[in-house]
């Protein structure tokens, strides 16, 4: 049962991991993107639209090319979330708009976009399908390693996931490496800590902010795609994604802006999210209290890091502030 708990915690955690990795990259550039929940919705629905179009173009779903079935939704998902990242960057970096307001507007827009197309896609293309259920595509996404079951519980915990889950973990590790061990990472951190210094050092602050925000959006968008295609078996339901976007932002704090910690954090959050299923004799009401846990834990972390005042665990110093060179 522990194996199945961990496995389910990981599956719950993966969308959060995508979201938090994306948000960490964004926040390291000094942009507090509160549009992540919206971006993840857009990532999900864009993937759904791509998959839907592809499935519809085929007469017989069994003739589906598994490679195309994966690559098309991936591309549309990347494209959709990239656009969201571009909107955010254009407004906050080029036009220096308030980041909080822009982010919240982006979330409103993104959630609306997701729910709108989720609810109206079939109608818009005058299809005769009853609902968006992309089982065939989902099956392609959910292909797992063939030997997963051969190793018993260990195999279940380590190998039973689809490729996107491993992508999430690899991305987090790469991000962690890039941030800590490369020049690009050093520059990115400098932009978020002290853009004036980075600028004086010859770093193109705006370009870093743009690239980091867009890349972050794309990665977060993949979390939406993973949710629809893996977790929800290819069935889009409006608001089904729920508050996971905000939880991803919480995870960034919990992991004190370190992507490698957010791997563990995401599994922990995933576990906290479903732990009520594993506690016997829990009433429906108590389950709701348990769902509060990730947020409570995050607040505690937030309080601890601010009271300890250790310089190593603080948010990027210029988080949430637009940078303008000729300010005086």
């Amino acid at each position: 049962m522990i194996a199945s708990f961990i496995q389910r915690a990981v599956v719950q955690g993966i969308p959060l991991l995508f979201g938090s990795t994306g948000e960490i990259i964004t926040e390291k550039s000094g942009n507090l993107n509160l549009g992540i929940p919206g971006i993840m919705y857009v990532g999900g629905i864009s993937g759904v639209i791509g998959a839907f179009m592809y499935e519809r173009s085929l007469a017989d779903p069994s003739a589906m090319n598994p490679f195309l079935a994966v690559i098309i939704p991936l591309l549309t998902c990347v494209l959709g979330s990239l656009c969201m990242g571009l909107i955010y960057s254009l407004l906050t970096v080029t036009l220096r708009a308030n980041q909080n307001v822009t982010g919240l507007a982006l979330t409103t827009f993104g959630t609306g976009f997701g729910n709108f197309f989720g609810g109206s896609l079939i109608k818009l293309v005058k299809s005769d399908m009853p609902s968006i259920s992309l089982t065939a595509t989902s099956n392609c996404f959910r292909t797992t390693l063939p030997f997963a079951n051969k190793f018993g519980p260990v195999g279940q915990v380590l190998f039973s996931y689809s490729f996107l889950a491993y992508v999430a973990i690899v991305l987090a590790l790469i991000t962690s490496y890039v941030l800590g061990r490369t020049r690009v990472g050093l520059h990115l951190r400098a932009v978020g800590e002290n853009p004036a210094t980075a600028d004086a050092a010859g770093i193109n602050v705006n370009r870093y902010k743009y690239v980091a925000t867009c890349l972050g959006s794309v990665i977060a968008g993949l979390g939406g795609l993973y949710y629809v295609m893996d977790y929800a078996n290819g069935v889009w339901s409006n608001d089904g994604f729920g508050d996971r976007g905000w939880l991803a932002i919480a995870l960034v704090i919990f992991a004190i802006w370190r992507p490698n910690l957010s791997i563990l954090g995401s599994i922990l959050f995933g576990g906290l999210f479903i732990i009520y299923n594993y506690i016997p004799n829990l009433g429906m009401s108590d389950q709701e209290l348990f769902k509060m846990l990730p947020y409570v834990v995050t607040i505690i972390v937030l309080i601890i890091i601010s009271i300890r005042e250790s310089r190593e665990t603080q948010p990027p110093a210029h988080l949430g502030i637009s940078y303008f060179r000729e300010e005086r």
């Binding site: 061990r181 310089r311 005086r328």
Partner: protein, 514 residues
């Protein structure tokens, strides 16, 4: 124009404006290789703006920059690097949470990829070569001010810059560190580097540089060879015609102890001891001057008296002018001090960041001191508006109206608003930190007159200044502070500049500035 042939960098007719403020107007100058050029000018003469244009922080509105005789477009700091221009800013541009090495390699595309350990070794090599003592892995937030400057200098050396610009590099250094720095700079000059040092200290100019270019109020005045000039000539170029200040000074009338500071110690936010055992007395009807190198603890001292800086130990006594009653201001908040009936006015150094609210209009800024009066939950805008009107008329504040946000006023007018408000509170103690900094001559005299009038009215005035001539002509007594310690108290009528200059640079070991 023989200079032009091998000029490392030449500026022609550079103009830069910020809004309506002209920071640089038609500035032209040049630096050769193997030469140290000083750019001399008072605070606010546009030195830093000019250098920021060379290093790509600002872009000139008009004019051209030539490097090795070819026109250069320096639109970003990156371009400046490409021309091997390295700038050491007055305010350090360092990332606090990074180590020295990380800061040094920041933005530098080195051959052979990114390798912190190798970079650290190179930094150690450079440090040894020039005699710096720096741990390459130390985080900047753990560093002292002089260590931070070392990082800045090594950063430029690391990049192999051959045009170096140093913006007021000695303001924060001890005399010994200054000597070290000057040795390094001379060594670099021998290497054939072009060095520009921005300063307003004449003795540094004379001891270090080959030539001096002088700026005054954003305009280029001229360039002279150091060997063929002297302090008097440079001063004249810097301040315009030789001005005998002629500030009026009356004899103090019936001076009485008003404020007694005893054995005050305090630390700044980073835990550095910033005031060491400071004791002095400020008397009524007298102007007490405070002289010292910038950042020697002047700000903390005034803030400690105003209740904005926590003391570690020591007492601050206030004696009521009418009753003579003694009260201790230690550990009191500004509000408590006010409620004790102490009329303490304070013109802080940071006018728009502390004394005033830049985005509020003059009326609302007047209200900062008075809005609490009365029992009503509402603020009364009529009295402050009248006061604003009054100050605008009395002090000739140039403003479109009382409703103009003060950040849109020029520096002098901002200061008039602030001083006007502080005086309007009819204080018994008036503290003013650098009240004439960045002001033109007329505004400066206006401020001196205001201070004198307060003195005659029996106020204990404390004046923190940087211009020794002013201090000597305005103040009755001058207290000198060096590295947080009181190094001397002299009579304003009999003391000489040299005497004060020596006291200013006196440090623990009794060493003096070179």
């Amino acid at each position: 124009m023989e200079e032009q042939k091998n000029a490392a960098i030449e500026l022609r007719n550079i103009t830069k404006t910020f809004g309506k403020v002209v920071a640089n107007k038609n500035v032209s100058l040049c630096v050769n290789r193997g030469e140290i050029l000083s750019i001399l000018g008072e605070n606010g003469s546009g030195k830093t703006t000019l250098m920021n244009m060379i290093s790509g922080i600002y872009f000139p509105d008009e004019g051209q920059i030539f490097i090795d005789g070819k026109e250069a477009i320096i639109a970003s700091p990156k371009d400046a690097f490409d021309y091997k221009i390295g700038m050491i800013h007055q305010h350090f541009k360092l990332v606090d949470v990074f180590s020295a090495t990380e800061n040094i390699v920041l933005g530098f595309e080195e051959e052979g990829g990114y390798n912190i350990r190798r970079s650290a070794e190179r930094i150690l090599a450079i440090s040894e070569q020039y005699g710096f003592h720096l741990d390459p892995m130390k985080k900047v937030y753990e560093m002292s001010v002089s260590e931070k400057q070392m990082v800045e200098i090594i950063k430029v050396l690391y990049r192999g810059a051959d045009i170096l610009i140093l913006d007021e590099p000695t303001a924060v250094l001890t005399p010994q560190e200054t000597r070290n720095l000057f040795d390094i700079l001379r060594r670099m000059r021998e290497d054939g580097k072009a060095i520009v040092i921005i300063t307003h200290k004449l003795h540094e100019v004379l001891s270090l540089s080959d030539r001096v270019s002088v700026l005054r109020k954003g305009e280029y005045i001229g360039t002279v060879e150091t060997a063929k000039t002297n302090e008097a000539e440079l001063t004249e170029m810097m301040v315009g015609k030789k001005v005998s200040l002629n500030i009026e000074r009356s004899e103090p009338e019936n001076p009485k102890e008003r404020l007694v500071v005893r054995n005050v110690n305090c630390r700044d936010r980073n835990g550095v001891q910033i005031l060491k055992d400071v004791s002095f007395t400020a008397r009524s009807g007298e102007i007490l001057g405070i002289a010292g190198i910038a950042g020697s603890g002047q700000r903390e001292l005034l803030e400690a008296i105003a209740g904005l800086q926590a003391l570690q130990s020591g007492e601050i006594f206030y004696y009521d002018p009418e009753t003579g009653e003694e009260s201790n201001l230690r550990d009191k908040t500004p509000l408590q001090i006010r409620d004790m009936g102490v009329r303490l006015s304070f013109v802080p150094e940071d006018r728009l960041g502390m004394g005033l609210v830049g985005n509020m209009d003059i009326t609302d800024n007047m209200m900062l001191r008075s809005y609490r009066s009365g029992k009503s939950v509402f603020v009364k805008r009529k009295p402050p508006r009248d006061l604003a009107q009054h100050i605008i008329e009395q002090l000739d504040v140039v403003t479109p109206s009382v409703n103009t946000p003060v950040r849109r006023l020029s520096g002098g007018n901002v200061q008039k608003v602030l001083v006007g408000r502080e005086i309007a509170a009819s204080p018994t103690v008036l503290m003013a930190a650098y009240p004439v900094r960045g002001l033109d001559i007329n505004s400066s005299y206006l401020i001196y007159n205001l201070l004198n009038r307060q003195k005659k009215a029996g106020v204990a005035v404390i004046f923190v200044g940087e211009d020794l001539d002013v201090l000597l002509e305005l103040c009755d007594r001058i207290m000198v502070i060096g590295s947080g310690k009181i190094t001397g108290m002299v009579d304003g009528r009999t003391a000489t500049k040299e005497q004060i200059g020596l006291l200013m640079t006196k440090t623990d070991g009794g060493e003096t500035h070179e």
